[in-house]
Point group: C2
Chain length 324, copies 2
């Protein structure tokens, strides 16, 4: 007494439980206080060998686990309120856990999303982290996938495709055209996404539909359009790309189809009515988040089309990543 | 389009998402409507080979995954409000998933705890199910671990030790004294716990401290006492046992120490002030849940003592299960 499991929780995770509703992780449950707001709930898990590489630094694994959930909250227009963590480990390794808890705690502080509780279990399998995160929105104001209307602009935050290129590099893919810094930029985008928490208010205020880009822009846009019963025409040349991605594209080291169907972007994809776009862009600018209009919602139920500089539709062998 | 993952969710899990806040599982997040009540959040994961046997029927695996969380909510005095599911699978097997979703859906209906959302991921490892469940209590009324006072009665629901004996049988342990029905009873207690949801109101109304017994009565009571800064004296002969457990104990096929330190009971352990005990017992009786007074909270910080029929303290080589 206390058991190894309790010691582990006390040692590594209690310092992160800064919210009074977490009871210092000494109880069986946490309390989210009631308020006049709706509580937005999202859950995302990451598995070693599937969503991250087993050798990735554990602080980046922790950050990614939390950030993919923060990205969902931001896309729904919600402000972070807290999260619970399930951590499945083969063994309790001090160095790994110390860095994991440090990364998690720093992000929890940075994004205002405290640890409320969790469960730590042993597994004979790969490390798995499942996080359920909570956010708040004014009543009825969560931004759904299903509100896009013909004529709305299709908008994305940040740049698209970097994380998929980073994974390509980590798996030994060549990118001779890139300098070391550029390679690190792409790898960093895969390992540690930048959740657009700062954009939540602008999304809530102006977007007709929104989701985060996690499985690939093409597939996720198709999901948003299906939910809204609309289609879209995307100008592929407008898709915002980072410097390294532009370099690889210009050297034909990678095709645009890999960029729009690669996963792990964790940028926000949203639709904004034309008469709200200027206000949305201003709010995004004030929030410090770059946003780019990449196309238009159109009537119909066709899968969204990506059009190249010659006006031809780009063939996409696959739209996005699927687990099964 | 839709991907295998989306088809899987649509086919197996959408029918379970009966709450309007689940949006038919077509969005990235769910809504828990605000209310005047506190929201109680708990999370528990189960892993194949650790918390259940890989060959267990998948409907029982689903039920156990949900019920261990419902057990936590009940022990905190909370009424179920819904849950989110993370399901990590090696492959999507139709028969396995069909039975899994059926068991989960039946329990969600029975206990009034609808599926709100989730994440389905592939894993090269064992099946893992992580559930975060939500309950509601009037503001400030969640029952903590830390309220036990000297003189309070120590109470448990149901019977103790059956699940550990069931696991013993499943692992090939002998129990020649038992008939087939009795063996099935014990195995059923391991595979499908009976969460004491019906006792939540009585716990909230009368208990000074409470938790569920998941890792073993001795260890969990020690945790409750440590949180409350008290000790306890338990009359081992008062611990409620099932018929099969009594048979095994009387034939010396198992010792009382295995019964009080075995896990997976998912009964409620609570402390009740002496002047509230009669009202608590009446409320429990009305709820149809048997409860038994097994001892008394006493001053001090010693680990709770279990006393046998001769007044001697029972030696407990280990108090409970620990993952690490």
């Amino acid at each position: 007494m206390p058991s190894g499991e309790d010691s582990l929780i006390t040692r590594y995770f209690r310092p992160l439980a800064t919210d009074p509703g977490a009871f210092d992780l000494t109880d069986d449950a946490a309390i989210l206080k009631s308020s006049a707001e709706d509580l937005v709930v999202t859950t995302d898990a990451i598995v070693a060998g599937v969503h991250f590489l087993p050798a990735d630094p554990s602080d980046t694994i922790a950050r990614k686990a939390l950030r993919v959930n923060l990205s969902d909250l931001a896309a729904k227009g919600a402000e972070p309120a807290g999260f619970v963590l399930t951590l499945a480990l083969r063994e309790a390794d001090d160095a790994w856990l110390t860095a994991f808890a440090r990364g998690l705690g720093e992000d929890a502080t940075q994004f205002g999303c405290p640890l409320l509780g969790g469960d730590t279990v042993s597994t004979p399998g790969p490390v798995m982290i499942s996080i359920t995160a909570f956010g708040r929105v004014p009543p009825g104001r969560m931004v759904r996938r299903n509100g896009a209307k013909g004529g709305d602009r299709v908008v994305v935050s940040g740049t698209i495709g970097d994380a998929a290129l980073g994974l390509h590099l980590l798996k030994g893919g060549t990118a001779a055209a890139l300098g070391g810094d550029e390679r690190e930029t792409l790898i960093g985008r895969y390992r540690v996404p930048q959740p657009r928490v700062a954009l939540a208010r602008a999304v809530r205020g102006h977007a007709s539909a929104a989701m985060d880009v996690s499985d690939g822009l093409a597939g996720d846009l198709a999901k948003l359009c299906a939910a809204s019963e609309v289609s879209a025409a995307i100008d592929a040349q407008s898709i915002p790309l980072s410097g390294p991605a532009r370099t690889l594209l210009s050297r034909c080291a990678v095709g645009i189809e890999s960029i729009v169907s690669g996963g792990d972007d964790y940028e926000i994809l949203c639709t904004v009515p034309e008469n709200r776009f200027e206000a949305f862009a201003q709010a995004a600018s004030l929030a410090g988040v770059p946003v780019t209009s990449i196309g238009t919602i159109i009537a119909g139920l066709a899968i969204p089309r990506f059009i190249d500089g010659q006006g031809a539709e780009i063939a996409l062998p696959r739209l996005s990543y699927s687990h099964f």
